[in-house]
Symmetry: C2
Subunit: 406 residues, 2 copies
Amino acid sequence: QIDSARLWGSIHETAQFGGTAKGGVRRLTLSSEDKQVRDWFGKACEDAGLEVHVDALGSQFGLRKGRDMSKLPVGIGSHLDTQPTGGKYDGILGTLGALEVIRTLNDAGIETEAPICVVNWTNEEGSRFAPAMMASAAYVGDFTTDDILSRKDIDGTTVGQALDGIGYRGDKPVGFQKLGCFVELHIEQGPILEAEGKTIGVVDSGQGVLWYDGKISGFESHAGSTPMPLRRDALATLSEIVLAMETIAKKHGPNAVGTIGEAVIANPSRNVIPGEIAFTMDCRSADGAIMDALDRDLRAAIAEIAARRKVEVKIDLVWRKPPTHFDPKLIAAVENAAKTLGYSSRRITSGAGHDACNLNTVMPAAMVFVPCKDGISHNELEDATQPDCAAGTNVLMHTVLAIAGV
Amino acid sequence: QIDSARLWGSIHETAQFGGTAKGGVRRLTLSSEDKQVRDWFGKACEDAGLEVHVDALGSQFGLRKGRDMSKLPVGIGSHLDTQPTGGKYDGILGTLGALEVIRTLNDAGIETEAPICVVNWTNEEGSRFAPAMMASAAYVGDFTTDDILSRKDIDGTTVGQALDGIGYRGDKPVGFQKLGCFVELHIEQGPILEAEGKTIGVVDSGQGVLWYDGKISGFESHAGSTPMPLRRDALATLSEIVLAMETIAKKHGPNAVGTIGEAVIANPSRNVIPGEIAFTMDCRSADGAIMDALDRDLRAAIAEIAARRKVEVKIDLVWRKPPTHFDPKLIAAVENAAKTLGYSSRRITSGAGHDACNLNTVMPAAMVFVPCKDGISHNELEDATQPDCAAGTNVLMHTVLAIAGV
Ligand SMILES: NC(=O)NCCC(=O)O
Ligand SMILES: NC(=O)NCCC(=O)O
């Protein structure tokens, strides 16, 4: 059993780095707050006897030796960055839970056959830089390191500049730390476990993701003197797109979602009809065929709206992450650990993307979910209970022991 | 006849102050570009022999003596500030046209019975600070000077600070310069004169304006893991409001418009359902009963949308300017001047608000419109021809001579 109080203490101690008045965390990737939590985490790993390295994209790796160093390490961990209005658990539970597993094994003097490696992946959130799960995507070869280093935030700062800014451009090439498999603990970020009174979610799959950048070019004109029928209003166009997205996602059933999270009017003024809007779109489904249908329906709807309103709408698919099907053996190991420990559990699909989804494309991977209050995440009010966090961490530890061998 | 080339030269010389790559002007009120054009204008007025004063809200007054100084001056002028993506004529033609009238009278050695006063009103556009036509509204007593001085722009800078920032907080109290009447020359900012091939618009009325500040409070949550039916999406809410506004304005016929020009998502992120949006609304009609109906329908629609989507929407009416009915005698004077000069003309309603609309509440006022290309205004592509600008300025001069007496 892990030390529930110590885990809880780590979560709340690090929540000060970017802590907000509403009890959440604002710790955008590679920000000064991110540096603070990275420094804390690196030191904690060293204090726990791990060999710590940082790769060229800033991901932190802490290796605990195994008896058989010819075996590839079991990777565990998640991320410590947050959304602009993020919570204390999203990513953090999985990273500090991994640390807690190491501390517990150390205290109990348990050696494993295979090594164990805890990881804090850079920019899982995808809020400051796109795509989400950026560093693990480069790790598995979806993008080159140079490509990722050149991605820009809204102010034009590149990933490379941001890494240098906080001194976290590591000396190890991306991929230097080989892993044999990866297990990630996370809050569910959805309402199912809580609603069904289950403690552990055994994640067997994850939704695929489509990310688009969009731009609407209408025509700026006077709010008072331009008759309604003569307008080419970029905001009215966006509004139709937002509602079409909602309708399309609903049409494709419970297994699809669609969101417009960002929209910026160029040179806004109260008495000017908006002429230009930049926006982004996020569509998801656990079913690849539904993803294709979402893309098709969305493009058709946008084309119709743009033609009718005589405005130009450009959309660029900037990221496509196919649905994830986690490794059956690792899924069974997680399920078994939950059962052994006496926790109620159920199979579950992840609505969110996770670094484990990327790793799963090149190695066996799996995930452990615990409930979060009202399914709320990406919100400062995100919450989870101490017993649930401890339960998830115990399941993580027992899964790791089963895989790594004692 | 005024000097068409000289007028055209002034317009294009001053267009450099804030001139944009697309041929427009970005000269937000009380910005450094606004200081440049004010300095130019103040000097030009002095060079034309006017007695120049600046009031506590930065409006510039240039007085030309009349034979009978017991008579109140005939006010002429407009404004030199622009929209963020504004044109070279909106306000500028009326202000530099007024200067051109003075220069022409000087050259011809014409003395008038009553004095003439040219005015450059501060913040007509209302883009940086609300409301529009701010300084003329204070002049006529709609707001106190202190109230206006405390209005803030989006960065929290007050009008008072902005005035001090460019050295244009004048030493004269607002209202120090009494005027007997006011005549404003302006581009139409709408498509009617051009479509009908008329040179002069004799403005007999102006639309009333409703300005609202709005705020939507939904609930931030994860774009991937929050099922569609559980969302309280602030942007989907705004989208319905935008389209409801459009429908309501269209329903109230050709004599109504409604626009949402500004909308800002708080803490936007690609994978976060928007939780909070601040926005503004602008509704207009030349008919007071329609203005009331717009307000009523809009509030009802917003209440229904908010309740259905379980989000909170607050709207505040921050400005209500009733429709304007200009002074019949001055209207006739404008019409007569156009006829005498041989220009085609028609009566017209102003879609935009103007300082003359404010002045009309305490003194006789009227306006002269000239066509602008495709009715485009509040856009960098705004355009007007030299002959039309000269024609409008001639009508302004002849109207002034008729009122002031030669
Ligand atoms: N777990 C999580 O919130 N990931 C962020 C990436 C995404 O799914 O949008
Ligand atoms: N003339 C003009 O564009 N005025 C700006 C104020 C408004 O009508 O919105």
